[in-house]
Structures are given as structure tokens and as C-alpha cells.
């Protein structure tokens, strides 16, 4: 990734955090808050390399933890695991497909949810959070899919698909 790419990514990440922390809570209910950092991570996992992508995924998760809940490192771990899962199969997939991107975001939201649930149950003493996680899982899944579809519209997915 060149210097311009790094700068662009940095701007997008900062903007996403600001939007998620200060802008969206004013207008939408917490259940419908999209996971913008997760969408960025999926994009990196599908398009980027393992060498730069893995630490980036971990950092994105860490940033998520900094602005959320009490457990620093929770999302960092789950983002990294999700990244590695995607990366293990992304070479065999057509990464520029919009449908695949949306599907991957949905899949990663599910994987992330499961991993978070597992880690919270194993390492923390907040069983009550499981109720919130379950009750807000489906809205989150739908909102993430919606945001992913918006991303595909903005970033020119499917441009190289030959017309029939």
C-alpha cells in the first residue's frame, strides 16, 4: 500500500469512528448502528495482502474496543480471526463481486458475533450482555448488509464483469 493509500485508509477509518460515535447515535437507534470498521476490515481482507491486512484488522478491532464496552482486545481478536478466515478462502473467490462482498460482510458479522459471544462467556463475568447481543444481532446483520451494499455502489464493484 502506498503513502496515498495509507492516508486515505486513515481518513476513512477516522471518519467511520466519528460517524459511529457522534453522528449516528443522534439519528438512529443503537440496534441499527452499522459496524463500519467491520465493513472496512472485510474490504481489506478481500482486496489486501495478509502482511499488511492482518495487523490492520487487529488495529481496527482495537479501535472498535477503544470506543466500545469494557473489554479492550475483544474485537481486536475477533476481527483478526475473521480476517484470517476470509483470507484463507479469498484467493479462490472473485473478490470484485458486489454480491460476494455483501455476503462476506453478513458472514463476518455472524462469525464476529459468535466469537464475541464465546470470548465474553469464557473470559468475562457479564452474562447479561448475551441478552443484548442476541436481541440486537439481526438488526445489526441487516444494517451491516445494507452498508456493504452502499459500499459496493460507491467503490465500483463488478466493473470488470463482462456484459452478456
Amino acid at each position: 500500500m502506498n503513502r496515498r493509500g495509507v492516508l486515505l485508509l486513515l481518513c476513512i477509518v477516522v471518519a467511520s469512528i466519528v460517524i459511529q460515535v457522534s453522528l449516528l447515535p443522534v439519528f438512529i437507534r443503537p440496534s441499527f448502528k452499522p459496524d463500519l470498521l467491520l465493513v472496512i476490515m472485510v474490504f481489506i481482507a478481500l482486496r489486501g495482502s495478509v502482511e499488511s491486512g492482518a495487523p490492520l484488522a487487529w488495529i481496527l478491532g482495537l479501535l472498535n474496543d477503544v470506543c466500545s464496552g469494557l473489554f479492550l482486545g475483544l474485537n481486536a481478536a475477533t476481527y483478526l480471526i475473521s480476517f484470517l478466515i476470509i483470507k484463507s478462502i479469498s484467493d479462490r473467490l472473485y473478490a470484485e463481486s458486489a454480491f460476494l462482498f455483501v455476503l462476506t460482510v453478513v458472514g463476518v458479522t455472524f462469525v464476529n458475533f459468535t466469537l464475541n459471544l464465546l470470548l465474553i462467556a469464557l473470559f468475562t463475568t457479564s452474562p447479561g450482555v448475551v441478552y443484548s447481543m442476541f436481541s440486537e444481532f439481526f438488526p445489526r446483520l441487516l444494517v451491516n448488509a445494507f452498508v456493504a451494499s452502499l459500499v459496493t455502489a460507491c467503490l465500483g464493484f463488478d466493473e470488470n464483469v463482462p456484459s452478456t
Partner: protein, 273 residues
């Protein structure tokens, strides 16, 4: 004949004036009725008056719409800008009024607390919906430490966690990880308020024998050293006593409207490094 010839002009003038005065004097009593002359003239003129009036109306219209209104467009723009500016001022005034009201309530709360407090503004919320926390614009540089009580004019908000030099995170009382020692104001029954969901808490560890009713006010008990005694936490919305078990299930609606919170007070007491 010579006389007539000689005084023709003055006589005619006098007769005319007399006739005019006669006509006038005869018409004075019937001044509200149209006489023959008037009727004839009016009838004769009416076919002309209508189109002329219409034409003059068109001319007036053209004058008013096009000639006199040459500057109307620019005037319209100026007036629209004026309206916008005035609306903005009204909105700002309303906002200032509401802020003033909120801050006045906060000040009253500040006065009622013996310990020193710091006012802070909410600048963000939790990234995810699973946890309940806020970000405020005061940190360790303002003397805030982790574990300090955060309150608003209505009551308990939560406590500070993860303090940086300029910002702090506030773990809301509705978060699952939150626990506040509480008392029912009326019966003095004790328990621990735990977070449940976005706008709901439960009072736990309250035995079945304790007197708790719907509508009771729940306040801080002061046990634990974080919150001062007697700060409102919320109101009991549901009490459920099963056939078995030691404790009863008590649901509480927080006194503070957490999704719309803007200003808070941090009580500078306790906390940990």
C-alpha cells in the same frame, strides 16, 4: 331690440347661471336618485367604460407586475435571507433557552452535592449496541479518575471508566457490567441495580420479604463509596415474586433519559488510579 342686443351677453350669462342654480336646487332633494340626464349619460357610457376599465386594469397589472416589480426578485432574495437569518436566530435562542434550563437544573443538583463536581458535555456514544457507554469531554487533566460517579440533574448516569487526558468513557447504569448499590426510598429495602438493556435496569438481591411496589423511587444507598447517598436512580416499573426463590424480580426505569443526555456532572470523590 337694441336693449337686448346691447345686454345680450350679460343676460345670457345670468340666465345660464340661474338655470344652473335651478337645476342644482331642483336636484338637491333627490340627490340619491339618478335623473334622466344621468341615466342617459351612464347608459351611453357603459359600453365604453367596461373595456376601458379592463384595459386600464391590464395596464395597471403590467405596471405592478413588471415595471414596478423590477427589483422584486432581488428584494425577494434579500427577504428570504432575512427570514433564514431570523429563523436561525430563533432556533439559536430556543436552543439557548433549553440549554439554560438544563444547566440551571444541573446547577441546582451541583449545589445540593457537598463534594466538588465537574461539569462535562457528552460528545459520543458507544460504537456498538451491545454495551452502554458515553464519551464525555473531560479527562484526567480535569481531575477525573476511573470509578468516579457521573450524575445529571435527574439522577444517576453511571461511572467513569477508561479515562484519557481529555476524554473519559462513562459506563452507563444500563450497561450489563454496571452495578450500583441502591435503596427503595419508601421502604428502605436494599439491592443492587444492574443494567439490563437500552432503557431498563433491574434491582437484584432484594429478598421476597422486602416491601417493593410499582412506582417506588429507587435511590443510591451510598454503600460502596462511589455514589453519594440519596441520588435518584429510577422508578420501579415491575415487581415479580415467584412461588420459589429467595429474591424478587424488580424492573426499574432510569430517572435519567440516557439516549438524550447532553450535560453531566462528575463527582470528584473516590475513584482509583
Amino acid at each position: 331690440m337694441d336693449f337686448l342686443k346691447k345686454y345680450m351677453y350679460p343676460l345670457l350669462t345670468g340666465a345660464c347661471i340661474l338655470a344652473a342654480l335651478l337645476v342644482f336646487s331642483l336636484n338637491v332633494p333627490r340627490n340619491r336618485e339618478a335623473n334622466v340626464i344621468e341615466r342617459i349619460v351612464l347608459n351611453a357610457l357603459s359600453p365604453l367604460l367596461k373595456p376601458v376599465y379592463r384595459i386600464s386594469g391590464i395596464v395597471e397589472d403590467i405596471w405592478d407586475r413588471y415595471i414596478r416589480l423590477v427589483d422584486t426578485h432581488s428584494e425577494n432574495i434579500r427577504l428570504q435571507e432575512d427570514i433564514r437569518a431570523l429563523n436561525l436566530r430563533v432556533q439559536e435562542a430556543n436552543e439557548a433557552l433549553l440549554a439554560n434550563k438544563r444547566l440551571e437544573q444541573l446547577l441546582n443538583m451541583k449545589k445540593s452535592i457537598k463534594e466538588p463536581t465537574i461539569a462535562a458535555t457528552v460528545i459520543g456514544e458507544d460504537v456498538t449496541s451491545w454495551f452502554r457507554s458515553l464519551i464525555i469531554d473531560r479527562g484526567s487533566s480535569s481531575g477525573i479518575r476511573e470509578g468516579m460517579a457521573v450524575i445529571s440533574a435527574e439522577g444517576v448516569v453511571g461511572q467513569t471508566v477508561k479515562v484519557s487526558s481529555t476524554t473519559s468513557r462513562v459506563l452507563l447504569l444500563t450497561d450489563h457490567a454496571s452495578g450500583i448499590s441502591a435503596t427503595i426510598q419508601r421502604s428502605r429495602a436494599r439491592g443492587v441495580v444492574k443494567g439490563k438493556s437500552e432503557m431498563n435496569c433491574t434491582l437484584e438481591f432484594t429478598t421476597r420479604a422486602e416491601d417493593v411496589k410499582v412506582g417506588d423511587t429507587v435511590i443510591t444507598s451510598g454503600i460502596g463509596g462511589v455514589f453519594l447517598k440519596g441520588i435518584p436512580i429510577g422508578e420501579v416499573t415491575m415487581v415479580k415474586r415467584g412461588e420459589y426463590g429467595i429474591f424478587q424480580t424488580v424492573s426499574i426505569r432510569p430517572a435519567v433519559n440516557l439516549p438524550h443526555l447532553e450535560e453531566v456532572l462528575i463527582v470528584q470523590r473516590g475513584g482509583y488510579e
